[in-house]
Amino acid sequence: MKRRLVTWLLVSLLPAAFLASLALGEVRLSLVDVAQALRGKGDPVAVTIVRDFRLPRSLIGAAVGAALAASGVVMQAFFRNALASPGLLGVSSGAALGAVSVLALGVGHALWTVPLAAIGGAFVATAAVVVLARRGAGTERLLLSGVALNALLDAGTAFLLSTNAGRLELSGQILFWLMGGLESRTAEHVIIGIPSIVVACVLLLPLGRELNLISLGEQSAQSLGVDVRRVRKRLIVLSTLLTALATSVAGVVGFVGLIVPHLLRLSLGPDHRRLLPASMMGGAALTLACDVATRLLPGGLRLGVVTALVGGPFFLWMLRTLA
């Protein structure tokens, strides 16, 4: 009964959040205005705002949320650690270093350069993780390598930030990117992010059973007929790919991948066949809702700040509960 209620809640929350993301913003538009604007009719300014500004933003918000939450589910099952999150293996840090590098080099003014550099940085980090995984590193070694990789890449970002601290506008751009955000997303961001995220999510969805078995422990999974090495590699590649793509189009957005799987695990149980699709929907709805909050709340809040404001207290509560 509880599961059915949560499922229905998710099924209705996601479209509601998507509609809110299309309708709410600095310019007030009714749902009728939004519907007309989507068909290219009515006030031309409303058409521009809905079709060119808010639609790409909303699509990317939903895709980013789904990607981060799915990646979080995989990380938590894979490492059998409640505190695992998408950025654990250094992928977000790699994306951040890539994006910050092109901004610091002064070539971030072209529309494609920042997201593509972020993907490049994330892929370098992903490649390092995959090489480690291929060499048969155990879960613990992989985890520690992720910590080291994160520290290394974050040091690179901090270096670029400190050497450019005197260039105030550039520092502002870098800090904004590091805080994550969905404002001013364009069709190019949609092209870069969404098709690949959809494909990665579709490839991940059938792996729910394998995730169930792997979360029992590798030996148990092996004895139950899972090709652990192959599945491990596939899970790591898909999870890091999702994080890389999400970070490349939205910057570093924290906590979505951590709290959504936990929240849904509490209500839906630990079965990953249910948890994966539910987390994708929940992550999308939460990210869209937080993005709407950034537009409506005063003070120019960034998406990463809002998700942290929501996620931080939850994280502390979780630590307290687990202790």
């Binding site: 600095e26 060119d52 601290a165």
Partner: protein
């Protein structure tokens, strides 16, 4: 019966027809912008000085802050952008948006795709940059006469100041702040020094742009006077004494610190001439008696 035209007449007729068609097809001068949104404080100031009030649709979100804008009180009469994103701009249905080179690429792309004309102010380090910006914006507003008059007034003030300062010994100065950064070459501060009878010791040492103040080298630069923005607060001198980089400077020990109005020190418009005059008066008061 048709009378054949002589060759010369035919050629002349063809030439006149061609000229008429060419004139008719020539692009007309672009019509002046009617609803202008400015996204930066610098372009706010230019817009306020060059446009008719009816042409101003909205000014930047910092335009009303006296700490940033020299024309904050004038700006208060106009609507203000809530943020720097494209939707905030489009809300005012502009036909021209004034932005700076550091505006994020996606925002510029969205505005261009929305069919809005953009003027991107790329450079503002020198007076020549300022004159070029005034002329570009003046032309887009249909007020080239006002733009030329503003350039002329500014040039006259600069020339008058240069005449007063002729032959003075430049005072060695350093830009200081509790945030331990200073300004070197290719900055508005360097331009300020070049016009106010000052020598920027950071620029002399080859420092480019805004960079962290080098603690040890600083002692060898030997600035005679320190210059800071008055937005840092009246107790700035005491707070600077707590910054290791400045603590041992003879200029600070002797209390040789000049505060200039914050918006003037950071001005990227014609108002910087007021900063030149203000600093010159402090450094060379004998030339203003």
């Amino acid at each position: 019966m048709t009378v054949p035209l002589p060759h010369v007449c035919r050629a002349s007729l063809l030439a006149w027809t061609f000229l008429f068609c060419a004139l008719a097809a020539a692009p007309a001068a672009p019509s002046p912008a009617q609803r202008v949104v400015s996204q930066t404080v610098g372009t706010d100031e230019l817009l306020l000085d060059l446009a008719d009030p009816a042409q101003i649709a909205a000014l930047s979100h910092l335009g009303r802050e006296p700490a940033f804008s020299q024309e904050a009180s004038e700006a208060a009469a106009y609507p203000m952008l809530k943020s720097i994103d494209a939707e905030s701009v489009m809300r005012f249905r502009p036909d021209l948006v004034l932005v700076a080179s550091y505006t994020e690429a996606p925002t510029l792309a969205l505005l261009r795709r929305a069919g809005v004309k953009l003027i991107v102010v790329e450079r503002f380090e020198s007076l020549e940059d300022v004159y070029a910006n005034i002329r570009t914006i003046g032309a887009a507003l249909g007020h080239t006469d006002r733009a030329e008059a503003l350039v002329l007034r500014t040039k006259q003030r600069v020339a008058e100041l240069a005449r007063k300062l002729e032959g003075v010994k430049p005072v060695r100065v350093l830009a200081v702040s509790t945030y331990p950064f200073t300004a070197g070459l290719h900055t508005t501060f360097q331009d300020l020094c070049d016009h106010a009878g000052a020598l920027n010791v950071a620029g002399e040492a080859g420092l480019v742009g805004h960079a962290s103040t080098p603690d040890e080298k600083l002692l060898t630069w030997n600035p005679e006077l320190l210059i800071a923005s008055d937005t840092e607060g009246s107790d700035l001198e005491a707070r600077l004494r707590q910054v290791p980089a400045y603590r041992h400077l003879p200029a600070l020990e002797a209390g040789r610190l000049v505060l200039l109005p914050g918006p003037l020190m950071a001005s990227v418009t014609h108002h910087r001439v007021e900063a030149f005059e203000a600093l010159a008066r402090k450094l060379h008061p004998e030339r203003f008696r």
